[in-house]
């Protein structure tokens, strides 16, 4: 009886702690979202109350008069193409390394792995000159190249690990039937690794979507700015209109948050993929 009471008490204590933590995590995001519906005077006068009406004016200002929609489009292009390129190249390398025995296999695998340890940010100066030489400064293609190369080691690492676990029977019987290597890869093996492709896709897409450092240095004209970078110029322009600022942040957060809520399991598995053996 005594221990049961104590266990009950502990459960309550645990729930209170986790509950408080959940409030601390959610409340700021909630405040950010509702403040986007408020006018400046509401934000100053009644900061904690709900907006007096569901008023989309701030969002309309952003949609109609700022470059934020353009930034959204640029980020979508950069992230989308980078991830497609990454998964294609990553699968190619990982497939060769995981499914074939050849001389130099381990060397090439180590070459990709060593890329995991190189912080590309520190090579920003040579990268700047190199991109200038290639005519890729102030271009989305430049960003796509950098992101693809930068995330390739992690992608190869995740996909190789997964491809190695596949049994070779399917492959062998298809080979006996005279299927070409390319056909075996695309039609038989690749459908089997789609869960790993999703994981690798999320693992690489989220940091690319959120990145601010490389565009800060490589993109100058407003028309090519990405969302995270564009927000800084947007904040400069609207620095006194708090409702619009909050609405901008909410709008910027919306795409990722929506996908996260629908696919939270895959997101968590994907983003922690590099850290969980």
């Amino acid at each position: 009886m005594q221990t049961k009471k104590k266990a009950n008490f502990n459960t309550w204590l645990m729930q209170i702690f986790l509950g408080c933590n959940a409030v601390i995590m959610l409340y700021p995001i909630f405040m950010m979202a509702i403040s986007g519906f408020k006018t400046n005077s509401e934000i100053f006068g009644k900061p904690f109350s709900l907006p007096s009406s569901l008023n989309f004016d701030n969002f309309l200002v952003i949609w109609n008069t700022t470059d934020v929609p353009r930034y959204l489009l640029n980020s979508t292009i950069v992230t989308g193409l980078s991830v497609v390129l990454l998964l294609t190249m990553g699968t190619m390398a990982a497939y060769a390394l995981a499914r074939y025995k050849f001389r130099g296999n381990i060397m090439i695998y180590l070459f990709f792995l060593s890329g995991l340890m190189l912080p590309l940010r520190l090579a920003i100066i040579p990268l700047f000159i190199q991109l200038k030489y290639l005519g890729l400064i102030d271009s989305l293609l430049g960003l796509i190249c950098i992101y693809t190369a930068m995330s390739l080691p992690a992608t190869v690492f995740i996909l190789t690990g997964f491809l190695k676990t596949l049994p070779s029977e399917l492959e062998d019987s298809a080979r006996m039937d005279g299927a070409s290597e390319a056909r075996i890869m695309v039609q038989i093996m690749l459908p089997l690794i789609s869960p790993a492709l999703v994981i690798a896709g999320i693992y690489t897409a989220v940091p690319i979507w959120n990145d601010f450092f490389f565009p800060l240095i490589f993109i100058q004209s407003p028309e090519w700015k990405t969302l995270a970078q564009g927000l800084t110029s947007f904040f400069g322009e609207y620095s006194i209109n708090y409702g619009v600022l909050y609405a901008g942040l909410t709008l910027a957060a919306l795409p990722v948050v929506t996908i996260f809520i629908i696919q939270s399991n895959r997101f968590i598995a994907g983003m922690t993929a590099g850290a969980i053996k």
């Binding site: 459960t11 645990m14 729930q15 702690f17 986790l18 933590n21 959940a22 601390i24 995590m25 959610l26 405040m31 950010m32 100053f44 904690f48 190249m89 190619m92 390398a93 070459f111 990709f112 890329g115 340890m117 190189l118 912080p119 590309l120 940010r121 520190l122 090579a123 920003i124 100066i125 040579p126 990268l127 000159i129 190199q130 190249c145 950098i146 693809t148 190369a149 390739l152 190869v156 290597e181 989220v206 601010f212 450092f213 240095i217 969302l227 995270a228 927000l231 600022l245 909050y246 942040l249 910027a252 957060a253 990722v256 948050v257 996260f260 968590i268 983003m271 922690t272 850290a275 969980i276």
Partner: protein
Amino acid sequence: MSLASDHDIDLIYQKSLRKRKNMRRLWLAFLLLPPILMLLIFVFLPMASAVLYSVYDWKGLVRGEFIGLGNYYDVLFKPRESWFLFNAFKNNVVVFISLMIVQNGLALVLALLLARKPAGYRFYQVVIFLPVILSTVIIGFQWKLFLNPIFGLVNKFLRMVDLDMWALPWLGLPETALGSMILVNTWHWVGFPTLVFLAAIHRIPKDLIEAARLDGANEWRIARDIIWPLMAPAVTIIVVLTFIGSFNWFEIPFIMGSLEGSPAYSTDTLGLLFYRTAFGSVSAGGSNFGAGSALAVLIFIFIFTFSIIVTKYLTSREIEMG
């Protein structure tokens, strides 16, 4: 006509074998060359060039003459530069230690609680991870607005509960700015170590913990003597990632403070200093690619060496699970 002799068949077989071998080689080259080239051109080449650049004198975008370790001497020992370097380094150390205690400590507690699958387990997991998926730019601006001395929600709240004396300009005082940013970083990232720790705890065999519980061990002893040693690999990874993250700290101080680590360089970091040195700023003057590259090489060597030492030390304490 007679049938083909054994010798002929052998020859045809050999030929087709060679052909298949060549095909295979081509196929492997097709698979491997594009990704290898991509990595060489956009990662390895610039990394190697950084070392080369650091031993030259630069005039803007133009490489000047070879000056050996001159740039290294400048960033390490010139009085003004060395003050900046030491100041930024000190802040990075403070960030690392604070995040280890506050962020990862909290994450450990949360993971231990969540591992007991309380009611609402799924909900808590998703909520803790929600800020992790957001861009640091969004988080930084959001909290900069919340921490605004006059209109910010934090001070409005403090005044509402009669704690006016605590309604400080949090980001404007050298004493509180760095601490505020570390707390914002904690809020942003705590879900990551929490869920990595949680996954590690889940992999510990259930019967091990059950057996200890049957033997009458209390929760604290179970956590200390069974869970903690068996989750060591996850701890190693989080320590190393926190270390790398702390010494690359750039976005939060850039957005919530400024490129100059304001107020009064109290939030300056190696990342900001590197950016200023390389691309120029009010305090650093014009852009200097030589000194910037030297700084980059030094930061890289430091992070790399330290990460390896930490990994070696921590893995030596790990226990292999059967």
